[in-house]
Subunit: 236 residues, 2 copies
């Protein structure tokens, strides 16, 4: 499935192209704003992977349009068939209190799968870069958000594709890696992000209203508080 | 989608578990036979990724059953949305003569995507290993079949998952890596593989009959010839 928002600029070889992973949440929307501000022609990609709600896909489409993406692609992939996470298996509850260790909202190998598909699309497009909004500061302890993981993915990607073999490897950019949630929010506001249009909640309802209880809501709320900015999130 | 062939042995913690990527072709069927002969409880995974024909998925289901897989999972993933390959874009012809360089049948980042999803399932299952039938001898020049690529994927996988972080990394096994096609055929026959039930052709018809012209058919035919074994392939 592909929604071409503006006419794809595939004939324009002077513009740098980037594939941006967008979930519709706070972090990836900020990353899209950053990539756009750096002059990239932005190709956004989202995944319909069996997550609990579609509100984040609607938000991803909205923010892609807002930041004038050349194309927004939604790739369907049934990660629910694999299970093992509260985000793709409705029989596992999303925790509403802080827990030790890697939480049940961790989706097995999710960033690896998403980055791999983005890598394939980037190769087809002849893109220079992939942007992903992983963060190693205010995060949920997921192994695939750590800098050493990203470095290893980059090393693998340098050997994986025809483009890389032919001398044009792609760079994986993680502009949020070392930022706190409040830093991300401040940066995004400078770049024109309207956070009221983003959905971070793990169990938002169909209208995109957030639960205010899950780990993702908690980190997001703290971020606005620490940034000294009113929280524009729409809660149930 | 999941087809449980026999009752999954998830309660049996003494058996080693492995996820085996099976395409229904000659190489991956041999890999399945190898994993089974090594005492692994085999969980086979195939991908409905927009390839040209379904005959290989039928063959994968058949060989999974033949080798008594604990489960065979078919994951749907629309790689056709990304395009860029003769195998997923019917507007690009499958070449029928030998060509220089990486051929148009290369699917961008395919092994990376397939291994990533296998990694996710392996983590959910608590598996010890993933088996993939890549081969660096009689192959089509795909970058993601080379040993240095597999090593890099392994290094990335060691950092990617909750299991790895908690001290239980998965091993990626590539038992065919250094074998010629004829060696693979000899080994598979010893292990009971019936190659007449496998489909390697890039453009097989709905009955699984092979074209005898594409690169994959050419390599397969040479293999039987060099092994001194009658070619059991069903051609159109």
């Amino acid at each position: 499935m592909s929604n071409h928002i503006t006419s794809a600029k595939q004939a324009d070889t002077t513009t740098k192209k980037a594939v941006i992973l967008v979930s519709g949440g706070l972090d990836s929307t900020t990353v899209l704003a950053i990539a756009q501000s750096q002059g990239y022609s932005c190709y956004t990609i989202s995944f319909d992977y069996g997550q609990r709600h579609r509100a984040e896909l609607d938000a991803a489409a909205h923010t892609s349009q807002f930041f004038n993406a050349a194309a927004h692609k939604v790739v369907t992939l049934d990660l629910g068939a694999i299970g093992g996470s509260a985000l793709t298996d409705t029989r596992i509850d999303v925790p509403e209190t802080l827990e030790e260790g890697i939480p049940v909202t961790y989706v097995p190998a999710r960033n690896t799968v998403f980055l791999s598909i983005a890598l394939g699309w980037a190769e087809v497009l002849g893109a220079d870069a992939i942007f992903i909004g992983v963060n190693a500061v205010d995060y949920s302890g997921y192994p695939d958000c750590r800098p050493e993981y990203i470095d290893a993915f980059q090393a693998m990607a340098n050997l994986a594709t025809k483009a890389a073999v032919e001398g044009a490897p792609l760079a994986i950019h993680t502009p949020l890696l070392d930022l706190s949630k409040s830093d991300i929010i401040r940066l995004g506001r400078e770049l024109g992000v309207d956070y009221s249009q983003t959905v971070s909640c793990y169990q938002a309802n169909d209208q995109g209203l957030a639960c205010k209880k899950c780990d993702s809501c908690r980190l997001r709320r703290q971020g606005f508080e620490q940034a000294g900015v009113p929280d524009p999130t729409k809660y149930v």
